[in-house]
């Protein structure tokens, strides 16, 4: 039984087909990411699950019940938004227990549960602070605690990391992954960032123009993209020719060779970009004007590799 299932959901916004025949099932405890460029329909799907938008057709099934007609406040979903959505007039603890107060839970019980949740996101000493007194990363962790406090059917995350700095983003991302694993809460995560999607997901659902392009594990989507769109959107990729066939190869699956006279391709190095652990070498192919790039561990690139060098390129042995 799926914890959350979209069945043939469609939504049209004033002539624009935001979502068409969208179908996806999340297993209990699974973390699935909707990944795609802006306007691909990923946020619409999430908001339809939350009840903030109504679908034109199709069903939303939670625990074998179609909830498509239910208003948002009766769906029991936990939601975290891109912008910090804490209630500014309540302190951190009261924010976390807001959902419990609405449900009429007694105040002692509420307080206890709020402390537990704050413990879970490791912010137990900030319960008395007001939202504007804590950092953006902390606010998102409180928002997670608030969303989880009522033990929702599904946790819905709408680009929760986009407003955060790079370092904090990784911290909160790991926090989300940990909560999903520890609590076993089914999670639907929306993002436009492929790195984020790959590092957090059990499965990724790649979307474009309101339809699903591919659903699969991060490895699957990266290594066996089902379409050129997926191949280019998830990671970078080179277009090469082998005889008359056009093939797509990831930059890290190419190796440079200075001594192999029979290399599959030859090209001239146009740029070398050192990015710490890895070095990206940009080349222009000899017979073909296409720019390509090769990614290698920096330690494997010696000083003989310089801009302007004519060099051989082979496909790496898998």
């Amino acid at each position: 039984m799926s914890a959350l299932e979209f069945i043939n959901v469609s939504k049209n916004f004033g002539g624009v087909q935001a979502l068409e025949g969208f179908g996806l099932a999340l297993a209990q405890g699974e973390l699935v990411t909707l990944l795609g460029p802006s306007g691909c329909g990923k946020t619409t799907a999430l908001r339809i699950a939350a009840g903030f938008e109504t679908s034109d057709s199709g069903s939303i099934v939670v625990n074998s019940t179609d909830i498509a007609a239910r208003p948002a406040h009766q769906r029991h979903m936990g939601m975290v938004f891109q912008s910090y959505s804490l209630f500014p007039h309540l302190n951190v603890r009261d924010n976390v227990s807001f959902g419990l107060r609405v449900r009429g839970i007694h105040s002692d019980e509420r307080r206890k549960r709020a402390e537990e949740m704050l413990d879970l996101v490791r912010l137990s000493d900030l319960g008395h602070r007001m939202p504007h007194q804590i950092s953006g990363g902390q606010q998102q962790r409180v928002a997670l605690a608030r969303a989880l406090a009522t033990e929702p059917h599904v946790l819905l995350l709408d680009e929760p990391l986009s407003a955060l700095d790079a370092k904090i983003r990784v911290e909160v991302r790991d926090e989300i992954r940990r909560l999903n694993r520890d609590l076993g809460v089914t999670t639907l995560f929306v993002t436009h960032d492929q790195d984020e999607a790959m590092s957090i997901s059990d499965r990724i659902c790649v979307m474009n123009n309101g339809v699903i392009e591919q659903v699969g594990s991060p490895r699957d989507v990266y290594n066996n993209p089902s379409s050129s769109f997926v191949a280019h959107f998830v990671g970078s990729i080179n277009t090469l020719h082998k005889g008359n066939t056009r093939i797509l190869i990831r930059p890290e699956n190419l190796v440079l060779t200075t001594h192999d006279e029979n290399a599959q391709w030859r090209g001239v190095i146009t740029d070398i970009t050192f990015v710490g652990a890895f070095t990206k070498i940009s080349l222009r192919l000899e017979n073909d004007d296409t720019p390509i790039s090769v990614l290698a561990i920096s330690a494997q690139i010696d000083n003989s590799i310089t801009i302007g060098l004519n060099i051989g390129i082979n496909e790496a042995a898998q």
Binding site: F52, H73, S83, S85, F98, V102
Partner: protein, 276 residues
């Protein structure tokens, strides 16, 4: 730009203070010194200060009556405006942002209409349709509601804009709140400062408005002050100063409240709602 910038603001601010303080000081001397205006000078700056003029005016039953009229009118104006503008402003932000420009334009109209034209037109018409309405002091309420509407809208608008309303409402709904609970538990508490601010601004409008009251012949506080000016100039001026000091205190309080409630990352919005 930079070096110049260091001296100029101080000069400007000093000038502005003189611009305001000098007349205030003169008013205070005129109101509270028992010395003929002609003889007021440097040498008698600290002589014969007394609040007698003001006290006579404050004891005048006509003053009490006019104050009570003004306060009653102010009370109903505040009620009418808040009941009208809170839902309108919220709904404009929530459901139909594209209506915002229109509502803003509608609320600016009263400022553009000369009050004299407003009162001539409206009262002339009402006089023929519903004379009973113009006879009551409360006939001022719709006029004052129109006059204070821009301030109320602006104050609520600033408060709501600082909120990210859409997300807060969605968050509250996903946590199980019905629309009514969202209103009571989330929106009103967060708009408290804006509402207090709008209320005070409205009261100030009502306590300061003269044109309409005089044209409709209502015995409001400003009307009383205008008359008292002829009979008891010191008392009228003392009363003016008293109102001035009280309202300034009121607005300083609201300002502090706003400052305290605002997140430190929106300092530029602290006063926006207060400034017309």
């Amino acid at each position: 730009m930079k070096r110049v910038g260091k001296a100029w603001p101080y000069i400007f601010i000093a000038l502005a203070i003189i611009f305001f303080i000098a007349p205030l000081l003169s008013m205070a001397r005129f109101a509270f010194q028992r010395i003929p205006v002609i003889s007021l000078g440097k040498n008698n700056l600290f002589k014969k200060w007394t609040a007698d003029g003001l006290l006579v005016t404050l004891r005048d039953p006509e003053f009490k009556h006019s104050l009570s009229v003004s306060l009653k009118v102010a009370f109903f104006t505040v009620i009418v405006l808040l009941l009208m503008m809170i839902p309108t402003t919220l709904l404009v932000h929530l459901s139909t942002p594209r209506w915002r420009g229109l509502v803003e334009t509608v609320t600016i109209l009263p400022y553009v209409v000369p009050p004299i034209a407003l009162v001539v037109g409206v009262s002339g018409t009402y006089r023929s349709i519903a004379p009973w309405f113009l006879a009551s002091n409360y006939s001022l309420v719709p006029f004052y509601a129109i006059l204070a509407m821009p301030f109320t809208f602006r104050s609520l608008d600033v408060g709501i804009k600082a909120l990210d309303l859409r997300t807060l409402v969605d968050a509250a709904r996903s946590l199980g709140s019905s629309s009514l609970r969202v209103m009571w538990n989330v929106l009103l508490p967060n708009l408290r400062t804006s509402i207090v601010n709008a209320t005070f601004l409205t009261i100030t409008v009502v306590l300061g408005e003269f044109t309409i009251a005089s044209l409709l012949l209502k015995r409001t506080l400003p009307m009383y002050m205008a008359q008292e000016q002829g009979r008891e100039p010191q008392g009228a001026l003392g009363l003016g100063l008293l109102i001035l000091v009280l309202t300034t205190l009121l607005f300083t309080l609201v300002g502090m409240m706003r400052r305290k409630n605002s997140a430190s990352n929106v300092p530029q919005q602290i006063n926006s709602g207060m400034v017309p």
